[in-house]
């Protein structure tokens, strides 16, 4: 998902990377390319424009850090701004504390409301809500049947009035029905409508006035183009929705519409919908999407974090040792402790360029680190300094002492040896030393 945008960002930044400083000239080149990236990604024209102005201003206004490349610098600014635009932190569904929670789904035709209604129903049912689905799309052929079929698949009741063509009455009755039957959550699936269709917009307004929803969700196709902001604005003016749902994110659309809608109507994006299976629903994480858009990884904050947490001197010593092949298990232990100081491995890996897109597959088990640490701690000082002496009986003792299997110990020693071998192949490069260290640690 969004790999294309990532690739384009990389391309746009190539020009800056490798040049010494950020200048009006090299920035404006990149910004022009960035503009193209954004427009190709369906970010609304105006949103793209203000985004670029803003990034540019931030980039030029600040001094370039000696420790990071211009590319990394701009990446960080882009990332920060994207995260901010996408909504900062994630945002949850509102639940009515005093009565039934009524959730009203609205949006254009074919945006994915019905499927998402069922997904949300299952999601809430799994969280112990007693859910009722309401079939209030009285226009599209067989819309009701679709919802009923989906309801059956997830064992959730579906309210409909077969002979009625009145979406307002159906919605109203469904709330009554839920109250009578002790159901605490009602999800109302409405017909898709164009925001210029006055009659249908009035209908949805009326539904809103009648059932007084706890939450109105605007469902939008992630493949939407420039007009997405207009429909979002019109729906917002009509019903003031509380959240946005971004659908079909399992495709390769770049999802610029999400960015635009968030920027134009200041409403959080609450859920992502990523497939036709009824459990492919996720809470929307703005920061995740932003770093995913960049894909490049948050190099800058990695560098920042690393610098803040690690004693430069110590790191330099480690590097020297690595390169001179005097790196021992004691140093390995130190390195692990440094990593642990810096935060979760998962988030660190996300910052490493090239790993961004694969972060899900990387699936690092942090327990492994604890294990490695415990194994080394069960070794004598001498064993740590000269791992060569670790024969079978020593390994057995260490395994028992640290509560691990002998295979665990063997694996660690093997990995350590491999790492040392690989380290020899690297040439010195101060800026990259941290990345190098990470790149060669294997946690499996």
């Amino acid at each position: 998902m969004l790999e294309d945008l990532t690739l384009k960002f990389d391309k746009a930044l190539k020009k800056v990377t490798g040049q010494g400083r950020l200048t009006e000239q090299n920035i404006s080149d990149t910004m022009r390319e960035l503009r193209r990236v954004l427009l190709d990604a369906d970010v609304n024209y105006k949103v793209a424009k203000s985004f670029i102005d803003d990034v540019k201003e931030r980039a030029l206004g600040k001094e370039v850090l000696a420790s990071v490349s211009p590319g990394q610098h701009i990446t960080k600014i882009l990332y920060d701004r994207l995260t901010e635009l996408m909504g900062g932190s994630m945002s949850e569904l509102t639940i009515n504390p005093t009565g039934p929670t009524v959730i009203l789904m609205v949006g254009l035709q074919g945006s994915g409301k019905t499927t998402f209604s069922a997904k949300l129903a299952k999601y809430l049912k799994d969280r112990n809500r007693k859910v009722l689905l309401t079939a209030a799309d009285v226009y599209r052929p067989a819309a009701k049947d679709q919802l009923k079929t989906l309801g059956k698949q997830i064992s959730i009741p579906v309210f409909s009035i077969d002979e009625s063509k009145d979406a307002v009455t159906i919605s109203e009755e469904s709330v009554k029905y839920a109250k009578e039957n002790n159901l605490d959550t009602i999800i109302i699936d409405t017909a898709g409508r164009l925001h210029v269709d006055e009659d249908l917009m009035n209908e949805v307004k009326q539904i809103k006035e009648t059932v007084n929803p706890t939450e109105i969700l605007f469902v939008v196709d992630s493949m939407s183009g420039q007009d997405a902001v207009n429909s979002a604005k019109a729906f917002h003016d009509a019903v003031y929705f509380d959240g946005v749902v971004l659908t079909k994110l399992d495709g390769d659309s770049r999802g610029g519409a999400a960015l635009s809608i968030k920027a134009v109507v200041d409403v959080p994006i609450k859920f992502s919908s990523l497939g036709e299976k009824l459990d492919s629903i996720e809470i929307f994480h703005p920061d995740r999407l932003a770093s995913r858009i960049l894909g490049k990884g948050d190099v800058v904050s990695l560098v920042e974090k690393a610098q803040a947490q690690i004693d430069e001197k110590e790191a330099e010593d480690l590097e020297k040792k690595l390169l001179s092949n005097k790196f021992d298990l004691e140093d390995f232990l130190k390195q692990i402790k440094m990593i642990k100081k810096m935060g979760s491995i998962q988030s660190l890996l996300g910052m490493i360029p090239g790993l961004g897109a694969n972060i899900k597959n990387a699936d690092v088990d942090e327990k492994q680190l604890v294990k490695v640490e415990s194994i080394i701690q069960s070794m004598t000082k001498q064993e740590r300094k000269t791992p060569k002496i670790l024969n079978g009986s020593r390994r057995k003792r260490i395994a028992r002492g640290s509560g691990n299997t002998i295979q665990d110990v063997n694996r660690l020693i093997k990995q350590f040896n491999e790492m040392n071998k690989m380290m020899k192949m690297f040439k010195s490069n101060k800026n990259r030393k941290m990345l190098k260290n990470f790149g060669n640690l294997k946690f499996n």
Binding site: Q109, Q226, D227, S231, D252, S253
Partner: protein, 314 residues
């Protein structure tokens, strides 16, 4: 093409009026509020073009040409600038869709049954379009059979069944979860024995990134060829007029699996858009056959490039 002989041109105009309004009220405003022509005007024009999903390349080309023309233009009146711009738009847009040919790919009368396969991403408007096509073919005097090869979506059968009834044509369906190819197989065999003129095959929505579903399309095609050697005669990609640049990827990816003989752009009854059609046509060299301008059975129109542009300018 034959089935939409008497297209109601007003409906197209009406459908596009929002687009037109957006384009030309915007442009007129952009120009009339400036006493002297300057680069700012072109910037505003660029915005208007791009927000119509016309794409960066096409927009840039129009702007570039307009700028060049205006350079030599002595008459800097509002009218003159607008007409220059309109001319440039016409040239560029017509160029983009030049290859558009909305005649049938092969002769219907000598290719019986004439098999039309309809594909596209989820929610694009395939099923609705099948209903509209069936209605139009039927009205034009052809016998029509619909095959419901969307065996995946909940209530897809019921939805298509309603459209078949509205169009008053026959339909072949199997239970949900059945192999779509087997529906196709059966439909074509029935069509052969009944001597049916037109077969319309509806398929499940599929994102072009799902390789297993794309393979399923290949299989459908193979099965078709086994029953009716000349099938499919048409493969239409249905794209949502609301969508942005991703349709270009859709067109490219679907083309890899099966040659597309035409595009159908739906939901053009909304607001400012339609620009996307020029891009697909220009980049993918696939003609635009029809446009959807509403949810009713009559709301399908022949795509006629020059008329489409005329409607924009009118």
């Amino acid at each position: 093409m034959a089935i939409l002989k008497n297209i109601n041109f007003n409906k197209l105009k009406q459908g596009l009026s929002k687009t037109k309004d957006k384009l030309f009220t915007g442009i007129t405003e952009a120009i009339s509020t400036k006493a002297v022509f300057d680069e700012d005007i072109l910037d505003e024009l660029e915005e208007i073009l791009i927000t119509s999903d016309i794409g960066m390349d096409t927009a840039m080309k129009i702007i570039h040409n307009t700028r060049a023309e205006l350079y030599y233009l002595n008459d800097r009146s509002k009218e003159a600038i607008i007409s220059t711009l309109k001319n440039e738009m016409k040239t560029v847009l017509l160029n983009a869709i030049q290859n558009t040919d909305n005649s049938d790919s092969t002769d219907i009368s000598t290719n019986k049954p004439y098999v039309i396969l309809v594909v596209g991403v989820n929610g694009a408007g395939k099923t609705t379009t099948i209903g509209k096509l069936a209605y139009n073919y039927k009205k034009a005097g052809y016998s029509v059979l619909i095959g419901s090869a969307d065996t995946f979506r909940a209530a897809a059968n019921e939805q298509l069944d309603i459209w078949a009834k509205r169009a008053d044509v026959e339909i072949v369906q199997k239970e949900t979860g059945a192999d779509p190819s087997s529906v196709v197989y059966e439909t074509l065999n029935i069509a052969k024995s009944e001597n049916t003129d037109i077969v319309l095959i509806d398929t499940a929505g599929r994102l072009h990134t799902k390789s297993n579903l794309m393979k399923e399309l290949e299989k459908i095609k193979t099965v078709m060829g086994k029953v009716v050697p000349h099938a499919p005669n048409e493969v239409y990609l249905v794209v949502d007029g609301n969508s942005g640049q991703n349709v270009l990827v859709q067109a490219r990816e679907f083309s890899k699996v099966t040659e597309l003989t035409g595009l159908i752009v739906t939901k053009l009854d909304g607001t400012a858009k339609g620009g996307v059609v020029f891009q697909i046509s220009a980049q993918q060299k696939i003609p635009i056959k029809y446009i959807g301008v509403g949810e009713k059975i009559e709301d399908l129109q022949d795509f006629d490039a020059s008329k489409f542009i005329e409607a924009l300018f009118d």
